[in-house]
C-alpha cells in the first residue's frame, strides 16, 4: 500500500471574470437602449393611466360632486310631476367658470336601479372642467330651458367617460337637465359626426346657423371614433316639456314601485 499524501489544502477558488473594457459605442448603444425601454414603459403606463386610472378617479369625483350639488338643491318629490309644455319660467342661471350648476340624467344610459346622473359644470377647458369635473357647458351658449342651444361637452374615453355611450342614443331618448329650480326634459332629435372645427353645431340655431334661434335645444359633443380625436360625435335635442322642482320629477326618474 503506497502512502498517498493528501494534497495540500487548496486556496479558495475565486472566479474572477475578466472585465472587458466596454467600447464607447457599446456604452452609447446601451444607454440608448435603456432610454428607449424607459420611454416605452412611460408610454405604456400613460395608456393605462388614461384608460383605467382616470376613470376610477373621474367616476369617484363626479359622483361626489353630484352628491354635493344635490345637497344644495331644494327637495323635489319622488313622484311624477305634471309636464308643462309651454315656455319654461325663466330661471336666472349665471354660474362662474368651474361652478357646477346643473345635472344631466339620461335614462337610456341607466342600468338596473342606478340612474345615470352626472354634474354639469360651466366651462369646457380640459384642465379645469372636463378632466376633473366631468361634463362642461360651452360658455356663451344658452342655459337650460332658454331659446337657443344649451351645448355641453364630455369625455368619450377616460376621466369618468361621461359620454361613452353617446352612440347608443336614439331619436326620442330623454336628456333631462336638472337645475335648482326646474326639470327640463329634452328629447334626442338627431345626431351627426363632424370635424372638430365645425363650431356651427353649437350655434344658437344649429339647424340653420345663420338664422335666429326659435327653439330651446340641447347639444352634446364628444370625440369620435372611440379612442380617437379625429372627429366629433354630436347629438341634438329639443325641449319637449319641463316642470318646477317642487311639482315632482319626470316620470322616468321616479324610483320605487309604480303607483
Amino acid at each position: 500500500m503506497t502512502a498517498v499524501l493528501d494534497p495540500p489544502p487548496a486556496a479558495p477558488i475565486r472566479h474572477v471574470r475578466p472585465r472587458r473594457r466596454q467600447s464607447p459605442l457599446s456604452v452609447l448603444l446601451g444607454i440608448i437602449g435603456e432610454i428607449l425601454i424607459t420611454v416605452g414603459l412611460l408610454l405604456g403606463l400613460y395608456v393605462v393611466y388614461q384608460l383605467w386610472w382616470t376613470d376610477i378617479m373621474g367616476d369617484h369625483a363626479q359622483a361626489e360632486i353630484s352628491e354635493q350639488f344635490e345637497a344644495t338643491l331644494p327637495t323635489s318629490p319622488n313622484t311624477a310631476g305634471e309636464a308643462q309644455l309651454g315656455a319654461p319660467v325663466a330661471e336666472e342661471l349665471t354660474p362662474l367658470t368651474a361652478e357646477t350648476f346643473a345635472r344631466l340624467w339620461v335614462p337610456a344610459w341607466s342600468s338596473g336601479d342606478t340612474f345615470y346622473v352626472r354634474p354639469i359644470t360651466e366651462g369646457t377647458d380640459r384642465a379645469t372642467v372636463l378632466d376633473p369635473l366631468g361634463i362642461g357647458h360651452y360658455e356663451k351658449t344658452a342655459m337650460p330651458g332658454q331659446i337657443g342651444n344649451f351645448a355641453i361637452a364630455g369625455h368619450r374615453q377616460s376621466h369618468g367617460k361621461p359620454f361613452y355611450s353617446i352612440d347608443k342614443l336614439q331619436e326620442g331618448d330623454e336628456l333631462i337637465v336638472e337645475t335648482a329650480e326646474n326639470w327640463y326634459v329634452y328629447h334626442v332629435m338627431s345626431w351627426d359626426i363632424v370635424k372638430p372645427s365645425d363650431i356651427e353645431v353649437i350655434a344658437p340655431n344649429p339647424t340653420d346657423p345663420t338664422a335666429a334661434p326659435d327653439k330651446a335645444m340641447i347639444t352634446l359633443t364628444t370625440c369620435h371614433p372611440l379612442f380617437s380625436t379625429k372627429e366629433r360625435y354630436i347629438v341634438h335635442g329639443e325641449l319637449v316639456e319641463w316642470m318646477p322642482r317642487d311639482a315632482g320629477r319626470p316620470a322616468s326618474l321616479v324610483t320605487g314601485a309604480p303607483a
Binding site: L45, Y46, R126, D131, R156, C223, T229, R232
Partner: protein, 51 residues
C-alpha cells in the same frame, strides 16, 4: 442605469427584487398622481370640444 440601480440595492437578490418592486410602485404612484395629471391636458389625445 437599471443595472447600476440593481447593483446599488442592498441585500441578497430576493431582497433586491422586493426593493425594486417597491421602487417601481413608488414611481408609478408619482406618475399617476402628479406627473400624468399635470401633462394630460396638454397632450392631444382627449379633445371632445368643437373649436
Amino acid at each position: 442605469m437599471y443595472g447600476a440601480i440593481w447593483r446599488l440595492l442592498p441585500g441578497p437578490a430576493w431582497l433586491k427584487a422586493v426593493e425594486a418592486l417597491i421602487l417601481v410602485a413608488g414611481v408609478v404612484a408619482v406618475l399617476f398622481l402628479w406627473f400624468f395629471p399635470w401633462v394630460a391636458p396638454y397632450l392631444p389625445f382627449d379633445q371632445q370640444t368643437v373649436e
